[in-house]
């Protein structure tokens, strides 16, 4: 393989999605390259989470396609789809922890269901992942007893428990204090540095975006209005992007 032309592993083509007549995605094209961290930015409610859910087959497009490693999700049997998902981890915006299970059971569920590892081995792996997100020693707690930020970190540990090749982060640092957010950013960068991990992160925390992104795409009114490196985005002369990344109330976008 030629290292100068990175391999496209996730390919979104002309993706369209409406909910009850309300157009959310209006023709999205994205190429995600192997090993990169792609950050999707955009205003609240612009469809970032909806886009992420299409990439893993939790929502299905009205038009267009999503392909992972050249295979179109919508044409897969459910067995093939589960096979693809085994290589994905996802951090949900609202953590989505199983509230009837302990922290350890949450993080270890995929290992318990899909491998023949012993309880002891799983416990060790769970402890290791919890340590990575700074949640060591919380194994026996229930999700209801955790703060919002703690839930998010447990959910992150769960997302990486199976050592996925693809990780989808939906607002990994929202609701975290600046220090924890910094640590989570470092963790995402670290995960991304491992050769074969490809990540897509959704955020509107620009500090986090600059830190973790290889490339940033801006989603606006159902379309991608710009794609570029963090520097290119920072220096963009598009007024919408300028207003967004600098958090200005004045500009082409109405603040409220």
């Amino acid at each position: 393989m030629n290292t100068n032309t990175p391999q496209i592993v996730i390919e979104v083509r002309d993706l369209r999605k409406s909910f009850a007549g309300h157009v959310v995605l209006d023709g999205i094209d994205i190429d995600v390259r192997r090993g990169e961290t792609l950050v999707i930015i955009g205003r609240s409610g612009c469809g970032k989470s909806v886009l992420l859910k299409h990439i893993i087959g939790l929502l299905w497009p009205d038009g267009g396609t999503v392909a992972v490693e050249g295979q179109i999700l919508a044409r897969m049997s459910s067995r093939e789809l589960y096979g693809v998902r085994l290589r994905f981890g996802m951090l949900f915006q609202n953590a989505a922890l199983f509230d009837s299970m302990t922290v350890a059971e949450n993080v270890g569920l995929a290992l318990a269901e899909h491998t023949r590892k012993s309880r002891g081995e799983i416990a060790d792996m769970v402890a290791h992942k919890l340590e990575l997100v700074g949640m060591q020693g919380t194994e026996h707690m229930m999700p209801a007893d955790l703060s919002g930020g703690m839930k998010k970190r447990v959910s992150l540990a769960r997302a990486i428990a199976f050592d996925p090749a693809y990780i989808l982060f939906d607002e990994p640092t929202t609701g975290l204090d600046p220090i924890t957010a910094g640590a989570i950013n470092d963790l995402i960068v670290e995960l991304g540095d491992r050769l074969d991990v490809t990540s897509i992160a959704v955020t509107h925390d620009m500090k986090s975006a600059y830190k973790i992104a290889d490339r940033i795409v801006m989603l606006h009114e159902g379309r991608i209005i710009q794609t570029g490196t963090p520097e290119e985005i920072q220096n963009s002369d598009d007024p919408v992007i300028h207003q967004f990344i600098n958090g200005l109330a004045e500009g082409p976008l109405r603040a409220i």
Binding site: I56, L58, S78, R85, L97, F98, E113
Partner: protein, 258 residues
């Protein structure tokens, strides 16, 4: 008038959407059926939960059902039918009809509602999506153990209900109608057919399927936050109660030929 017709049309569409949805869920369930004993712990957890949760209320309902059945039958027999047939009539009514249907209605209210509420909450908080992302089929993981547990546990609960209701009837017969316990129990035994028991338990298994399957379906199709969960819970109870009564009639006409 136009509004009325539109409302009717919408209701009809909803109905067919539900029938289609139930059918699809049923197909997915059939496909994962062979894997039911793959995770025995999921199944036993559900069975214990259903049993422990429902038993106290079922005992209470059954005692009074048996008692009132005995009292009312005695009132109707008075002067027409010898009291040695009291046990026969009451026993048959309990085994064939009363225990299965009343147990099912109690379980629909307790277990069916809690299945719908639990799965509905999991749906709106994206926990079901989280299972999907982990490549764990939520139909196998959540629906299958609940439905199988319903099919197994309802007949077991009905056997309890049969015993308790007959004891309640016995107590009334002995203490309030002046029928000796021997006479009453001989009456129960005299015309006891195994086929009646089989019919009652078959009904119970069917009701168990209805309750858990409808509960799961309502939970899975929940949308709209806490209010949506409330809606699904209510619908799970109402729809299963209606289906229990309808299927009771159908099974009765199929199993008991005049």
């Amino acid at each position: 008038m136009a509004i009325f017709i539109r409302g009717l049309g919408r209701a009809a569409l909803d109905f067919f959407a539900d029938v289609g949805g139930l059918f699809l869920l049923g197909m997915r369930l059939l496909r994962v059926l062979p894997r039911v004993f793959g995770s025995p712990r999921l199944l036993t957890t559900q069975m214990l939960y259903m049993g422990v949760n429902s038993l106290p209320l079922i005992v209470l309902v059954s005692v009074f059902t048996g008692s009132v059945a005995a009292w009312q039958a005695a009132y109707q027999f008075e002067g027409f039918v010898p009291m040695r047939y009291l046990g026969t009539a009451v026993g048959k009514a309990i085994i064939i009809e009363l225990a299965p249907v009343l147990t099912a209605l109690v379980v629909a209210g307790r277990v069916g509602a809690s299945i719908a509420a639990e799965l509905g909450t999991m749906r709106v908080t994206e926990q079901i999506d989280a299972l999907e992302v982990m490549a764990i089929d939520p139909v196998r993981y959540l629906v299958l153990p609940r439905v199988i547990s319903g099919i197994i546990m309802l007949p077991i609960l009905v056997i309890f209900a049969d015993l308790v209701a007959i004891l309640g009837a016995l107590a009334v017969a002995v203490n309030m109608v002046n029928v000796s316990s021997e006479t009453f129990l001989n009456g129960v035994k005299a015309f006891f057919y195994v086929s009646d028991m089989v019919a009652g338990l078959t009904k119970a298994a069917i009701f168990g399927f209805i309750i858990s399957f409808i509960g799961c379906y309502q939970g899975f199709t929940t949308s709209g936050g806490a209010a949506g969960v409330g809606q699904s819970t209510m619908r799970a109870v109402v729809v299963s109660a209606v289906l229990i009564l309808i299927s009771d009639f159908i099974v009765a006409t199929l199993m008991f030929r005049l």
